[in-house]
């Protein structure tokens, strides 16, 4: 999707609601309310965290690949119950979304983000920087992501990505 004019103008109310969705996304994760994170997606959704080098070469391998809301829940379960990781804080900083298109009830956006990570005994560092390539729909009366691809520039990952981008 390039930066062409939306097929239908996006109403200011919808624009504001999309802004709220991103604010909720960042706040939910950074407050550690991981159980609420899958609720920001439609039941049938696709979420991937993919290195920019793979994305640009058309290589499909993703660092995280969830093909349904249920798979997002499995990620949350892993964070809570199964994975060993050093505790840390995440901080998402999400820029204003660029709205690329609004067709058949689907808003396509492209949005810059940065995720900072703070571990005990270490200086805060940039963990992951990139852009979200998203599709947003109205579902059960609210906006949700039906597709979210986190394309990251920071392809040399410092140690691990333990929490959702």
């Amino acid at each position: 999707m390039d930066g062409t004019t939306p097929a239908r103008p996006i109403a200011p109310e919808l624009r504001a609601e999309i802004g709220d969705l991103y604010a909720e996304y960042a706040d939910t994760l950074d407050c550690g309310e991981y159980e609420r994170w899958p609720e920001l997606f439609t039941e049938r959704c696709f979420y991937a965290v993919i290195p920019r080098e793979n994305h640009e070469r058309g290589l499909p391998l993703a660092t995280v690949r969830c093909e349904s809301r249920a798979m997002l829940k499995d990620r949350v379960h892993a964070i809570r119950e199964t994975q060993m990781y050093v505790p840390r804080w995440f901080r998402h900083v999400i820029a204003a979304p660029r709205l690329l298109a609004h067709v058949d009830g689907v808003v396509t956006t492209r949005t810059n983000y940065a995720v900072f990570e703070t571990q005990p005994d270490q200086l805060t560092r940039v963990l992951n920087v990139g852009r979200y390539e998203d599709e947003i729909v109205r579902d059960e009366g609210r906006l949700r992501f039906r597709r979210k691809i986190c394309v990251f520039d920071s392809i040399l990952v410092p140690t691990s990505i333990v929490l959702p981008i």
């Binding site: 965290v49 993919i50 290195p51 080098e53 793979n54 070469r57 290589l59 499909p60 391998l61 993703a62 660092t63 995280v64 690949r65 969830c66 093909e67 349904s68 249920a70 798979m71 829940k73 499995d74 379960h77 892993a78 119950e81 199964t82 994975q83 060993m84 990781y85 050093v86 005994d121 392809i155 040399l156 990952v157 410092p158 140690t159 691990s160 990505i161 333990v162």
Partner: protein
């Protein structure tokens, strides 16, 4: 031979000595001393060993190249006009500039941006601007030999689509280097079918490279650390397994067979086992048998820089690039076969969720690498205990053993003369 400085004296005088013949204790100074690091670069990575650098399918056409590493030294893997593979030092013969900055690409020649010295795909120096000077001024000396000033070329071995390189002319054949047993396991995944790269993953892990090698030679931890492996029976001590080494001890395989998610006497000692855990979306783990025999996971460590991963249907090369004594990069190349049906590719991509920097399994390991280094680094004179399964270095038909670590250190000490 390229830049191998004379090795410094080993076992720094101020350090706790490492008792001769003791492979079941490892002093922590080997994970953090700079002189050990330099000695490893010279003797191991630049020594008579085959370092993994690329897959042939990454450079399918003449002129294709890939940037890679041998130890911490950057190299370029090229396919020449003749179709043959070359591995060249990524360093201009003039002033040392790193010529190639792109991960993958296609080129007719390599031109150094600094003074435009130009090399062909075999590393031969083919052009120097103002070589003859200008109007009688300057120029290179008349006896300057282009032929003697190319990019240093490494020895190359290609087997079934996998490319290895060595700075040492005295390196044995790849087949002899692996030995029959390890070659058998290598050919199990690399059976000659063309490979297809699915994508890359890269991590900088703040630990010595040997801790990563040890991790994949250690089946004991798999039943304890990894809830995912244990719960879903992907790798567990109560399943039919084997730990095997080559004659030198430098290479190893861990072999396991998938079992059931059922509690038994053995799972009682595994706190990681969760009898009632279910995936909300079980399509994540629906492995399909694709290799001969009943092994469902074979993890092979090839001295000095490669892990070949076959866990269910997720296949990857994990290349280690040491970054000083206290860090290494782990470069993952996930692949399948060119003739995979789309469902198999999907399966591989889904199962890749187990691996890499956010993997349900591998994340546990990268986190452990980090806190291992943090724990041992301030205590160089203390030692690790590697006595699980005994003090010997012979193959085992179970996983409650650290034998492959002992075998690794038996070889390591011989090569390093420490």
């Amino acid at each position: 031979m390229d830049g191998n400085t004379a090795a410094p004296a080993a076992a720094p005088a101020a350090r706790t000595p490492w008792k001769a013949g003791d492979f079941s204790h490892v002093p922590y100074w080997i994970y953090r001393d700079q002189d050990i690091y330099a000695r490893e670069q010279a003797r191991i990575f630049a020594g008579p060993n085959w370092n993994y650098v690329a897959l042939e399918s990454e450079v399918p056409n003449p002129g294709d190249f890939k940037r890679s590493f041998v130890g911490d030294k950057p190299v370029i893997v090229t396919r020449g006009a003749d179709g043959a593979i070359n591995v060249l030092a990524n360093r201009c013969a003039h002033r040392g500039v790193q010529l190639c900055q792109e991960h993958l690409g296609n080129a007719k020649e390599f031109v150094c941006p600094y003074h435009q010295w130009t090399y062909d795909l075999q590393g031969k120096l083919i052009g120097i601007p103002f070589r003859r000077g200008h109007k009688g001024n300057g120029g290179m000396p008349g006896d300057f030999d282009l032929g003697a000033n190319g990019l240093p070329k490494l020895e190359v071995a290609v087997r079934h689509g996998v490319i290895f390189a060595s700075f040492d002319r005295a390196v044995p054949s790849f087949e002899d280097f692996l030995g029959a047993k390890m070659l058998g396991y290598f050919d199990r995944v690399f059976d000659g079918r063309p490979l297809k790269v699915l994508g890359y993953s890269r991590q900088r892990i703040p630990s010595n490279w040997k801790l990563m090698m040890e991790n994949i030679k250690d089946p004991y931890h798999a039943s304890l650390l990894h809830v995912f492996l244990v719960t879903f029976g992907l790798f567990r001590m109560d399943q039919k397994s084997a730990v095997q080494m080559d004659d030198t001890g430098r290479h190893a395989v861990l072999v396991n067979r998938k079992g059931e998610q059922a509690a038994n006497e053995a799972t009682q000692e595994m706190r990681a086992f969760k009898a009632d855990m279910k995936l909300a979306d079980p399509t994540l783990l629906q492995p399909q048998r694709e290799f001969p025999g009943d092994a469902t996971v074979v993890m092979q460590t090839l001295w000095p820089n490669l892990i070949v991963q076959q866990q269910s249907n997720t296949l990857a090369m994990r290349q280690m690039v040491p970054r000083g004594p206290e860090a290494h990069d782990l470069l993952w190349t996930f692949f399948g076969y060119a003739d995979d049906p789309p469902e198999m590719t999907e399966r591989r991509l889904r199962q890749a969720n187990l691996m890499g920097p956010a993997g349900f399994v591998s994340m546990d390991d990268s986190e452990v690498m980090m806190i291992s280094q943090q724990g041992l680094d301030p205590y160089p004179d203390a030692t690790a205990v590697i006595e699980m399964g005994g003090r010997d270095t012979v193959d085992a038909d179970h996983t409650i053993t650290e034998v492959a670590l002992r075998a690794f250190y038996a070889h390591y000490r011989q090569v390093m003369e420490i």
